[in-house]
């Protein structure tokens, strides 16, 4: 079994923390994993993408091949669409619907209609949800929660365990908040 996931968003939105949580869970579960990250120039408010590959067999390429991603998990709707060529025909797009407006020519209407036209898509208004629940810094974990049912190769329990691990150094309060964020996300993923 394998799962290829494209994580995308805008620099600073915390997609690498999602990768860290999934990575921790994968290693604990004894799965093979490759995760290509983006560093450097592209982080200053530009588009960022990370390919995450999980499998029980050996993984060769660090990059996700075209047409093979099972999930595009995105913190930002236009950034989800940017990587569509990587999506498998039965793959899922799970994305925040809140646009990140740091460019003048953001095509809001086109983004909306393109997402609406997708067959397997879960959108959630992450800005609103994270604000309503007073957890603006855990928006990424809410998104992960929304994907928990689709990831498959890892169970929600395994992911929860890794949220504990990854945030442990920041104290119990932060751990609890992220676990709650994960649960809120799960509600939207159903």
């Amino acid at each position: 079994m394998k799962k290829d996931i494209i994580l995308s968003g805008v620099g600073g939105q915390g997609i690498l923390s999602i990768a860290t949580i999934i990575g921790d869970a994968a290693v604990r579960a004894g799965l093979n994993l490759k995760q290509a990250e983006v560093h450097g120039m592209s982080q200053r408010g530009g588009e960022v993408e990370s390919g995450l590959r999980l499998s029980d067999a050996e993984i060769h390429s660090d990059m996700v091949p075209l047409g093979s991603a099972d999930i595009i998990l995105s913190m930002e709707p236009m950034e989800a669409l940017r990587y569509l060529p990587f999506l498998h025909k039965d793959g899922y797009v799970i994305t925040s619907s809140s646009p990140f407006l740091n460019i003048d020519n953001y095509p809001e209407e086109k983004v909306k209609s393109a997402l609406a036209a997708m067959e397997h898509v879960i959108t959630l208004d992450l800005d609103r949800i994270s604000q309503e629940n007073s957890m603006p810094k855990s928006a990424n974990v809410i998104l992960l929660g929304a994907a928990a049912g689709v990831i498959g190769i890892l169970t929600p329990d395994q992911l929860r365990e890794s949220i504990r691990n990854v945030f442990a150094s920041k104290g119990e309060r932060i751990v609890e908040m992220n676990l709650r964020a994960f649960e809120i996300g799960q509600e939207y993923g159903r």
Binding site: S42, L84, N105
Partner: protein, 565 residues
């Protein structure tokens, strides 16, 4: 005892080097190499073993310090991005001539596709140029294991060893099985052989002959390396080149006639290295009948390549970077033997390889199901909100609007983003330090105002000597050292000149009245623009230092302080 850690390629190299018992790492930050040194700096092992790991001013000082450490009998490592090799080249190439005492490994991280670089140069050419062994890992695990091998090789052959990686390996994470032992630092007596280390012509000529004579031996080592491998369908992989590649297994489904050998049927062959090997494997080429040679060490093992080619009808060379291997394979097999790769258009001529273009080259074209919807626009990176460089460019743009002939020569750092809207404030960005020297040359040609914009870390890396040239010539330039107290673009490493810039400029001979410090904030705009105007009007070298901490390092400090409180 072993343990499993989830590591970037860079971090696997750091672990490998520490487990090989290094006494020091010397480096200047540069994407995608920075995380090697960062990892060592933050590791418990570096503290316990007293591993030297402070940042160097530039790649050349790093290379020379590492050579000194090797001379003194300890293992040392130098890390840099590919263009850093140009800066270190003088020391690097001559270290091939002196040779080493303690093991010395130079790690060069290339950036094909130029994710954050100015060019696509391939560091393997430097290894060939210096005639030293060059290693190229394919996976994070290999990157880890190759470090111990590299240090042993370096000490055995008494040569520096170059290890070349690319962005994709440097910045991709995988589980790596590493030793759980606590290594000791390797220490030998200091060298004393002046005939080896004093490169007077008489000594250098002798060393040059010896190094040249050593090349066939080094080629053999490339073929007997534990990372060299020939795989053929249905057979287990053969490593270390024992068990010769049997040349005439005919494989159905993927066979062609060997040129000049009518009737005989041979399989197609692939020679791959580094990350290219991973993409080849991703495309199941063995199942498709290909024969596969994996090269992980240079100089290219010519004899092994020749033999492998004899058993194949054609060869596809798959390498990330420039066609370094492909050109050599061509010259090894000679004549009209079909060699395919980047030079023949079977793979893209430039840019990073990926599983898809390699798939296409082995006959497995994938057509994506979904296209990027129409109307999706790029989202370029930008200077952070609140960044001091923003205020510097706002001020410069405001003043220079009155000087239509002005040019701004910029440099390498976050502030290069001043090239993009909304600022569009710079005219050039070429290499580390070129802002000051290009402004000087332009001023020598009569261009006025010639303004240089350089960051604090870039200034101490390669700007100071250029400023001295300008002072000595009384060149009519205005230098802006935009000081954010850190090396920001690579993630906030210490900057070598922090708190020393006024002193450095004065010591280089800039006049006291023309070294001006400002705080780049909107509320100071009137003062800043006035000072810029005054210095543009001064006929000579002036330096303006806008100083305000990078927003990212500031935020990080606040977070750490908050956690400690």
């Amino acid at each position: 005892m072993t343990q499993v850690k989830l590591l970037l390629g860079d971090e696997a190299i750091a672990e490998g080097a520490m487990h090989a018992g290094i006494k020091g790492v010397y480096a200047y930050p540069g994407t995608p190499s920075t995380e090697i040194t960062e990892y060592i700096r933050h590791s418990a092992m570096s503290r316990e073993n007293g591993i030297h790991c402070t940042w160097s001013s530039n790649e050349k000082t790093a290379m020379e310090a590492a050579l000194g450490m090797s001379y003194a009998g300890c293992r040392s490592m130098v890390c840099m991005k590919h263009v850093g090799m140009n800066v270190a080249a003088d020391a690097f190439v001559n270290a091939g001539m002196t040779g080493v005492n303690g093991g010395l490994v130079v790690v060069a991280a290339d950036d094909p596709s130029m994710h954050s670089s100015q060019n696509e140069q391939d560091s393997r050419f430097y290894g060939k140029f210096a005639m030293i062994p060059t290693l190229e890992p394919s996976t994070q695990q290999e990157a880890y294991e190759m470090m111990a091998y590299a240090f042993e090789l370096s000490e055995k052959e008494k040569l520096p060893v170059l290890l070349r990686i690319t962005t994709r390996l440097a910045h991709s994470r995988a589980a790596v099985r590493i030793s759980a032992d606590k290594p000791d630092t390797v220490r030998k007596p200091a060298d004393r052989d002046r005939s080896a280390w004093v490169l007077l012509p008489a000594n250098a000529k002798r060393k040059n002959l010896a190094l040249t004579a050593k090349q066939p031996h080094l080629e053999q080592l490339s073929a007997s390396s534990p990372f060299f491998r020939i795989s053929v369908p249905d057979y287990p992989a053969v490593s270390g080149n024992q068990g010769a590649h049997s040349g005439n297994d005919s494989v159905s489904g993927n066979a062609g006639a060997l040129p000049g050998n009518a009737g005989a049927v041979f399989p197609k062959g692939i020679i791959a290295c580094g990350t290219g090997y991973n993409y080849v494997m991703e495309n199941h080429v063995l199942e498709a009948g290909y024969h596969l040679m994996k090269i992980s060490q240079y100089p290219v093992p010519a004899e092994a390549v020749r033999k492998f080619a004899t058993g194949c009808s054609q060869i596809l060379v798959v390498e990330d970077g420039q066609p370094f291997l492909e050109e050599q394979v061509r010259s090894i097999v000679g004549g009209d033997y079909p060699v395919k790769g980047r030079l023949t258009g079977d793979l893209p001529r430039t840019g990073e390889l990926n599983p898809d273009c390699v798939g296409e080259a082995v006959g497995k074209k994938t057509v994506p199901v979904y296209a990027v919807p129409e109307g999706i626009v790029p989202r370029p990176p930008a200077l952070c909100q609140g960044c001091g460089h923003r205020d510097v460019y706002i001020a410069l743009n405001q003043v220079l609007a009155d000087y239509p002939e002005s040019r701004v020569f910029a440099d390498i750092g976050c502030y290069t983003l001043g090239a993009l809207p909304p600022f569009c404030a710079i005219d050039t960005c070429v290499d580390m330090g070129a802002s000051i020297t290009m402004a000087k040359g332009a001023a020598d040609a009569g261009l006025h105002p010639a303004v240089a914009v350089i960051g604090d870390s870039t200034f101490t890396h390669s700007g100071m000597t250029g400023l001295l040239d300008a002072v000595n010539d009384r060149s009519n330039i205005t230098v802006v050292i935009s000081d954010n107290l850190t090396t920001a673009m690579t993630g906030g490493q210490d900057s070598a000149g922090t708190n020393k810039f006024e002193a450095i400029c004065l010591a280089l001979g800039v006049e006291k009245e023309h070294v001006r410090v400002v705080v780049p904030l909107q509320k100071n705009m009137e003062e800043i623009t006035r000072i810029i105007r005054e210095e543009l009007e001064y006929d000579g070298v002036s330096v303006i230092i806008p100083r305000r901490e990078c927003m990212q390092t500031l935020a990080r400090k606040k977070r750490t302080a908050g956690r400690q409180a």
